[in-house]
Symmetry: C2
Subunit: 332 residues, 2 copies
């Protein structure tokens, strides 16, 4: 039986880039002599911490919502998230003039709640709905909201439009940095990684695409070894954007087909990398956003991958971190 | 008696820009919708925290050292500083292949010492010299080092080449942002302010140039009121780059001629602005670097200056802050 086709093709990423033109920021590619010395390679950091709402997630959410039919637009979009996907859908909805409902667990941080509401502000019909994650069934809530209001659920990664949108980060990086030998991309559910691999391998057929997971949450590394999606318990890591239990049914086949391997980094490496970004590049980067850079900066890591002296793209995925917690990381 | 000519002219800044081309970073101009809403104006932030060695000071130091005669180059440059000027001269010297001696008080922070030595690394004849600021006379040390080694002293602000170099930050800002109505610039000794006013008023004759000092160290505000240079005690402020006691003999006449007024901000406003930059723009900015932005973001401040809805340039002067201390500011 032939394998089913992959969920996205390079053309989907190119089309997403046209939809995002003038809406998403074309974030800069940052260089650092010290990072080059530490890694023994030439690193090109794609600064998605400077993206709208502070993370690459805006790309995928907007690319999904902008393709709604008129009926879908009237009813609006629904998302389950207390993280960057929540803010991405909230902001995209407001920009497109459509209502969004963001469902968050009752115990989500107040700051996340406030930020999401701020992005929804002025858009009639938009709201944050809180649920008790211990007593209420998330799928049932989703089904009810979808049925009652006719809203379209946008998942955080396992959706072709989301995957294609995220890939535009890699498209811009390669456009701006020129030919790369390798691309390091963080992953939770694999939306950014699958989109980036799709466009990256099309633009540069020899490109080595390497995913980076937190040590404690290496479900996709295990899945690649096993040849099927492995589900793990919610991983304990400060990389809250990568606390997924399994990669997606749509993202995993793309990763299997186009990604060379997955490497992992520890929370201690993430903290060290956060400090590096603050001290040297003057950039605030959230823990998840440090995953790919931590893999590049670990002593000997790129050597071990045969990437000494190579031109390596590194996606810095976001900068949304609670200031009090961030202060603790820097103070260590 | 006619007033003596000002120490620099617009052409000096233009010439400095040519010398800095390909050497200094052309730092980005950052925008923020939230900052625009808070200020009631359109703010254009010139991100000199992303300049080489982390502050605008590189511009002036390099512009001074690159104009040394062959004999001066062989002997090298001398600077008294434990701040950004130290690192600026150290790095410029290394790039130009000339020795630098940086004299720092014995009790300067170890991190500043290490950073300066790192910038000097590999340049024969370069060193950091420590002195006891309570028992040793700074001028005598300077005179001795100059006499013994024939080194040329580069002061941190009161030097035409330094002033002209700093002005290139405003030149780039106006080039990139387009016509501005006003320009907010921090000041300690007034190097950046005098250079920026010189080029800014030449490019945009109607430009209103406004200096910003820490509340506790408003010597230049006092000087403008008095019509002569006022000297104050070392001010107690977290804006360590603006702890000067008086503006310079060369900078003050330029400020008198071209700057509309000086406004002041409190340390509490600086902390608030540091937090704003981290949270919203994902930028690490040092306290001194927040001066101009704090003046723009203070509620009603731009209104009071008649700048509602105006296009206002804001120079963010640097991002070099000890991480432990920075963490304390963010944790508040």
């Amino acid at each position: 039986m032939p394998a089913p086709p992959l969920a996205i093709q390079p053309a989907d990423v190119l089309a997403a880039a046209q939809r995002l033109r003038g809406v998403a920021h074309r974030t800069p590619v940052l260089r650092s002599r010290t990072a080059d010395e530490l890694s023994g390679a030439q690193l090109f950091f794609k600064a998605e911490n400077l993206q709208r709402m502070g993370a690459f997630k805006f790309r995928g959410a907007y690319n999904a919502l902008v393709q709604f039919t008129p009926a879908q637009r009237r009813a609006g979009a629904l998302a389950f998230s207390s993280g960057n996907h929540a803010q991405a859908v909230a902001l995209s909805g407001r920009l497109l003039g459509m209502p969004t409902v963001i469902a968050m667990p009752q115990d989500a941080p107040a700051a996340k709640l406030a930020a999401t509401r701020e992005y929804q502000a002025g858009q009639p019909g938009s709201e944050v709905v809180l649920y008790d994650r211990y007593t209420e069934d998330r799928d049932a809530i989703g089904a009810r909201l979808a049925a009652e209001r006719g809203m379209t659920l946008i998942p955080p990664y396992d959706h072709p439009h989301v995957m294609a949108g995220q890939g535009t980060a890699a498209l811009e990086l390669i456009d701006d940095a020129g030919p790369l030998d390798a691309l390091l991309v963080c992953l939770g559910g694999g939306g950014l990684l699958s989109g980036s691999a799709t466009i990256g391998r099309a633009m540069l057929p020899g490109l080595r695409v390497i995913g980076v997971e937190p040590e404690a949450g290496n479900d996709t590394q295990q899945s690649l070894a096993r040849g099927e999606i492995v589900q793990i318990a919610v991983p304990q890591t400060i990389a809250d954007g990568a606390q997924t239990q399994a990669s997606g049914r749509l993202t995993f086949p793309v990763i299997q087909a186009l990604v060379e391997r997955i490497v992992t980094v520890s929370d201690a490496q993430l903290v060290q990398t956060m400090r590096f970004f603050a001290e040297r590049l003057k950039q605030v980067v959230e823990p998840t956003g440090c995953l790919a850079a931590a893999a590049a900066l670990a002593p000997g890591a790129l050597d071990a991958l045969g990437l000494r002296g190579a031109r390596v793209g590194v996606i810095v995925s976001g900068g949304n971190v609670d200031l009090a917690r961030y202060a603790q990381y820097l103070a260590r």
